[in-house]
């Protein structure tokens, strides 16, 4: 590994204070907060589509937090005399076959979908990063064993494995979170493992080792921070995937069931009417999924070109 590549790996972190180690290894350091804000500002200006992505995500986060305030009705309130009513000034997105307000349900569903995606990605991130660091740095039989295990897990189409696990566990939302985390762990682990392989051969890690730093310190202070950029990018992609798979599982009818406001299960309920032209209970929750997932994908793309210019 040449010296220039070391710099290339280090430079994006220098720009983003939230990622860089704050141990003072750079001679002149601005306060972390200001550096972070400046980096975010620079990022937002660098890429129009990235900005759009951030706006979409922020909008949905806002909706999730404020849903009880801005939704005109309760998500489970039944209007028995207004079943399958087309969009109107009272029910903006119409009502579904149970006589529930599609608009209120769509807004409320943002809470559940974001919570599931966020929790699951966080869990898989932590476990995956630890696994990746250990296998990548230690190598040997631990590495072999973990890799073969990950191979087996990744051998199945994710949706099928997810369906089977969620249905078997029968724990509703909890098992959906578990399954997404479970399926994402191999992805983070492989990513960090590959980065660790690269970083452990760099001069600064060698120097740290020569100075007698213990392994945990090298991993935590040198390897981890420098392997973060692809993890940050991947996290946006994983969030997008998590939202989609949550909706897919609920659409099939496992995990989250009907009265709970969730986009996929709303589409499942709505899909019965699509052949007879009742489009609103299907179209609106779907649009919600698309806009949120698109926002996350746009963000991932922009982060990709910002954090790893030139890289794939």
């Amino acid at each position: 590994m040449s010296a220039t590549e070391d710099h290339a790996a280090g430079s994006p972190l220098g720009r983003d204070g939230s990622l860089a180690p704050t141990s003072g290894d750079l001679p002149e350091q601005q306060p972390v907060l200001r550096r972070t804000l400046r980096a975010i500002n620079e990022f937002l200006r660098s890429d129009l589509s990235g900005t759009l992505g951030v706006v979409l995500i922020a909008a949905w986060l806002l909706v999730a937090v404020l849903a009880p305030v801005i939704a005109p009705f309760s998500p489970v309130e039944v209007f028995g005399d207004r079943v399958l009513e087309a969009p109107s000034s009272v029910h903006w997105f119409g009502t579904d076959i149970n006589g529930m307000d599609v608009f209120s349900r769509t807004l409320h569903a943002a809470r559940l979908d974001l919570q599931i995606a966020g929790t699951a990605v966080l869990i898989s991130l932590v476990i995956g990063v630890v696994l990746g660091l250990l296998t990548g740095y230690l190598g040997g039989w631990v590495d072999m064993l973990v890799l073969r295990l990950l191979d087996v897990l990744q051998a199945f189409p994710a949706l099928i494995l997810g369906l089977a696990i969620v249905a078997a566990l029968q724990r509703g939302i909890g098992s959906v979170i578990f399954v997404i985390a479970f399926l994402d762990i191999p992805i983070y682990a492989r990513l960090i493992r590959a980065e660790t392989f690269r970083i452990r051969e760099t001069n600064y890690v060698e120097a740290a080792r020569a100075l007698g730093n213990p392994t945990w310190r090298i991993l935590l202070v040198h390897v981890l921070p420098n392997s973060l950029p692809p993890v940050v990018i991947q996290s946006a992609v994983r969030m997008a995937w998590a939202v989609k798979i949550t909706a897919s599982l609920a659409f099939v009818g496992v995990g989250i069931q009907a009265p709970t406001p969730e986009w996929g299960s709303m589409i499942r309920v709505g899909s019965d009417g699509i052949m007879t032209g009742v489009w609103w209970p299907t179209v609106f929750p779907g649009l919600a999924v698309v806009t949120l997932v698109l926002g996350l994908n746009l963000l991932a793309d922009a982060l990709q070109s910002y954090l790893r210019p030139g890289g794939r």
Partner: protein
């Protein structure tokens, strides 16, 4: 000669790697449905059954024996071709697989071919015209396609193409309900219709395939397009291509050079797309009532039909492993760097 020897070694090694993988896949397929505390005996005996009746059912199914012993029995009989019976339909699982797997395979193979055509075309054009107006347009629309839940797009198409414009037949199966299904020969519906000489059935099937295939082509095609674009750009930026341009190679030869060199990664994407369709077919089959293995699997999963779920998950694992194996071998045969050690 050297290449052939290298390739032979690689092929043998790569194929042998599948064996432990399949063992792991069988383990997962067996234990996954037993993770929870669902008792299939309760489901089979029915809600009014007494405790003694439930116990009797459980004993008949061998559910009381230790898990590992159950697994051993299962593996042994599976290896001899006996996959057990469905507890719901009473049919043997191998019959179900034989009837339904070809149906799904036909669907996802056609879907993958369509996705690959769409994806390669769009990705290649976008990559060769990086940062042009066309590229920006394609980049945004591929991201849109990737962001769409495949089942939602399918439903949307049903609404527009079936309900509003009536261009597509109703999403109620593989062919018109007015026509008799062709005799079971190969199991592949289109093939069987042709073998029966029933062109009307064949045509009806083609029309019914239209919407599911378009749905897959748009969503999976978008994924392939995005990755193709990235690898085309990567290849275009190599010194090899820059040199070709500098010495004034004609444009079509540069295009060929780029295409040829991005082929290995493109084949990987195709393999990924194909295995993605294995999972995605579940959703497609549900909304179009396709009656393939995906629908069988989902029904079995929801009703804890152990024998079917096991076989289904196992079959999907095997298929995915086979797809990746074939892809790796193709890549190794066109890219000597893979086998060169």
């Amino acid at each position: 000669m050297n290449f052939i020897r290298n390739f032979g070694w690689y092929a043998v090694k790569r194929t042998l790697m599948v064996v432990p993988l399949l063992f792991g896949v069988s383990l997962v397929a067996f234990f996954i449905i037993r993770l929870g505390d669902v008792n299939p005996a309760v489901l089979i005996a029915g809600p009014t059954a007494s405790a003694a009746e439930i116990e009797q059912v459980a004993a008949e199914l061998g559910l009381e024996r230790p898990l590992f012993e159950q697994y051993r029995t299962y593996l042994a009989s599976a290896l001899s071709g006996d996959l057990g019976e469905s507890w719901i339909t009473g049919r043997t699982v191998s019959t179900e697989l034989r009837n339904r797997l070809p149906v799904t395979l036909e669907l996802i193979t056609i879907g993958t071919v369509a996705s690959v055509i769409v994806g390669l075309l769009l990705g290649f054009v976008a990559g060769m015209r990086e940062r042009s107006l066309v590229d920006h347009f394609l980049r945004v629309s591929t991201l849109g396609g990737i962001s769409m839940p495949i089942f939602w797009l399918g439903l949307l198409l049903i609404y527009v193409v079936f309900f509003l414009t009536d261009l597509a037949p109703p999403p109620l199966g593989r062919q018109s309900l007015m026509l008799a299904t062709p005799e079971f020969r190969t199991g592949l519906p289109l093939m069987d219709a042709l073998l029966d000489g029933r062109l009307d059935v064949f045509w009806s099937m083609v029309r019914h395939l239209m919407l599911p295939v378009i749905t897959m082509a748009l969503v999976i095609g978008a994924t392939i397009a995005k990755q193709t674009r990235a690898s085309v750009i990567e290849v275009r930026n190599t010194s090899m291509v820059r040199y070709a341009r500098a010495i004034g190679m004609p444009q079509w030869r540069i295009w060929w050079l780029v295409l040829h060199n991005s082929l290995p990664s493109v084949i990987t994407f195709i393999a990924i797309a194909y295995s993605l369709q294995l999972g995605g077919s579940v959703l497609i089959e549900l909304i179009f009532s396709w009656g393939g293995i995906g629908q069988l699997g989902v029904n079995a999963i929801q009703r804890a039909d152990y024998a079917v779920v096991q076989a289904y998950v196992f079959a999907m694992g095997i298929l995915a492993a086979a797809i990746y194996l074939v892809a790796d071998l193709i890549i190794a045969s066109i890219d000597p760097r893979v086998t060169f050690k």
